[in-house]
Amino acid sequence: MNAIGFAWRSMVRQPARAALGILGVAAVGALLFDMLLLSRGLIVSMQDLLDRGGWDVRVSMGELPGSGLRIPDAVETAEAISTLPSVQAALVMRSATAQIDRASGEPLRASFQGVTTRSSDPAGSRLRAPWTILRGRDAEAPDEVVIDEKIASESRLEPGSEITMRASCNADVEALPATRLKVVGVAEFPFQITNESTTGGTLDALRAACGGNAGTEADLILVTSTSDADSTAAAIRTLRPEVRAATNTEVVGRLQQTGFTYFRQISSVLTTVTVSFAVLLITVLLTVSVNQRLGEIAALRALGFSRMRVVKDVLSESALIVGIGGLLSLPLGLLLASGLDRILKGMPGIPVALHFFVFETQALAVHIGLLVATAIIAALYPMRIVSTLPIAATLRDEVIG
C-alpha cells in the first residue's frame, strides 16, 4: 500500500477528527481564496469596465476623470483631438445633477450625462454613446433622453413617456425652470453608482435642461484610437498640454495608488493571518495525531517500514487534509465572495458594475501554491517527530505504560 492509501486509511479510522480537520481547512481556505480574489478584484473589474466601453483614452483636467475640474472649450478641444491621425473618434461628456418631478412624493434625484453624438465632420458617422440601450432607441434630439432601469421602474416610465426635469450644470443650489423631455429609451450606464439614478442625452439636451447655463466646459473627452492607446495619449498631451490624457491602464494605475490600495493592503494582512492560522492549526492537529500513534508508528518501523516511509505517511495525511479541504474551499470561497461583494458594494460612490472579488486564474494558482506550502510546513514538525522516533524505547514505553 502506498503512502497516500495508508494515510487515507488512518483518516478513515478517525472519521470525526478527519472530517473536522477537513472542514476547518475548507473554511480557512475559503477565506484565503476570497482574500486573493480581493487583492486584485477591483483593479481587474475597473479595467474591464473601462475597456468594455471601447474608449481607450480619457481626457480630463484633473489627475483622474471625475475629479470635478472641467475642460474649457471642450467641443473645440475634441475637434482638435479628432484631427490627430491616431484618433478614430472623440466624444465630449458633461454631467449635471438633476431632479425629475414625480406625480406624487419627492422629486427623484439623478445625474444627467450629456454627450456629443456626431463627430466633428458634419457628414461623420454617429458616435457610440457611453451607455447600452436596453429598450427603445438612443436620444438624438435636444428634447430626448434615455433613462436607467431604476428610474423606469420607480417612476413607471417607458419609451414614449415624458418627464419634467430640473437640471443644474454649475451648482446644486441653482433654481432652474423645469424642462419637458421625452423618454426614448431605457439604457444601462456602465459607471452608474449604486442607489443613484442616471439619465443620458445629447449635449444640446443637457444645455437645454440646464437653461442654457452649461457653458462650453465638459468633464471628460472619451477617445478611441486607431492604433496604440499610449501613443495616442502622448499625441493628445503634446497637442493640448493643459489637459490630462490617460489610457485605461494609466487610469487604473492611478486608482491603484489611491483608493484601491486599502483593499490590497487589507487582503495582504488577512492572507498572512489566514495562512499562519491554517499552518498553526494543521500542525497542532497532525502533531497531536502523531503523538497518539507513536506506539503504532514504532511498531511499523519495527516491522520494516523505513524512516522515509513513515515521514511520507505523515506528509500524505497532511496533503490529504489540506487537499480535500482546499478543494471544498473553492465553491465555499466563491459563495462567500458573492456575499462579501454584496456587502462592499453598499459603499457609496461604487459603480453598480464594479466588483471587489473577481476570479482570476492567477489567484487560483496562488491559492493552490499557498495550500501546498501550508501542507508541507504544517507537516514539518510531526515529520521530524516520526523520523527521530526511537523504535525500541517507544515500544518499551508503550508496553510498560
Partner: protein
Amino acid sequence: MRPRPLVRALAVLGIWLVPILASAQDTKPADVLVSRQLAESEGLTVGNVIRLSTDGAGTHAREFRIAGIYEPTPDPSRLGQVPRAVRLHLPDLLEMTRPADVPAGAEYVSSVNVALTDPRDADQFARDVNARLPGVLALPSGEAAGSAGPFRVLERFHLAIAVVTIIAATVFLLALTIMLVDERRETVGVLRLIGLPVRRILTQILIEGLLVASVGAVFGLILAVLSEQLINYFFQWRYDTALVFVRITRDVALTCVTIAVPLGASATVVASWALLRRGGLRLARR
C-alpha cells in the same frame, strides 16, 4: 449664521505654487496655511512667500505668506490621497476664483458651517432653513458626515470576515478537543470505575475547559493589542495619515472574551460528552 474664517481650498490640483523670496515683496502678502504633506513635498517653511494661481499657466498669480503648517484632520473618505492643500481666508479665495463677469459678493460658496447656541436645536434649525430658503440644503452635522458611510460598510465586511474566522476556529477547536479528550480516555475510564458520576466528570472537564479558554482569550487579547499598534503604524505610514485603523476598545475586548470563553468550554464539553456515554470498563480497557 457665522461663517468660518478659513475655508479649505477644495482642490489644490489646479493651484500652482511657486515659492519665492519674501524679501522681494513691497506689500505684505495675505496669510495662508499649508498642509504638512504639501510643505514636506515642496520644502516649504513658515514665512515663505508663495504664488498661487487658479490655472497651470500661472495667470493672475497672487502672493501669499505661509503663516503656519497644519496637520489636516484625518478624513476617512480621502484615504490614499495625500492632502496637498492650502487654507486661505475666504475673501482671498473668492477674489482669486471669481469669474470676471461676477460682481464681488455674488460668488458661490460650497457650504456654510453654523454653530448654534444650543446644539440640540440642530434638527429644528435645519428644518427652518430648508423651509425658508428654497434651493439651500441644511443638514445637522451628524447627517452631513456622509464620509462615515464607507466605514459602516467596512465594519459589516470585517464582521463577516470575523464570523467566518470564528466558524473555522470552532471547527478546528472541536477537532483538537476530540483528540485531547481521546488522549485521556483511560483516565476518564478509571474515574468512572472508582464511582465518579458522569455529571461530576463533566463539571470537572467544563471547569478545565473554562480555564484553558480564559487563558487563551487573555493571550489572544495581548496578541491583539500588540498587533493593533503594528497595524496602525503600518497603515499610518503607508497612507501618511493620522487615522486610527485598529482600536481595541473595552467593548471589542469584552465581545471577544464573551465569544471565545464559552466557545472553548462548550467545545470541550461537546467533545467529552461522546466519550462519557461509553461505559467505564470500555474506556479503561487498553
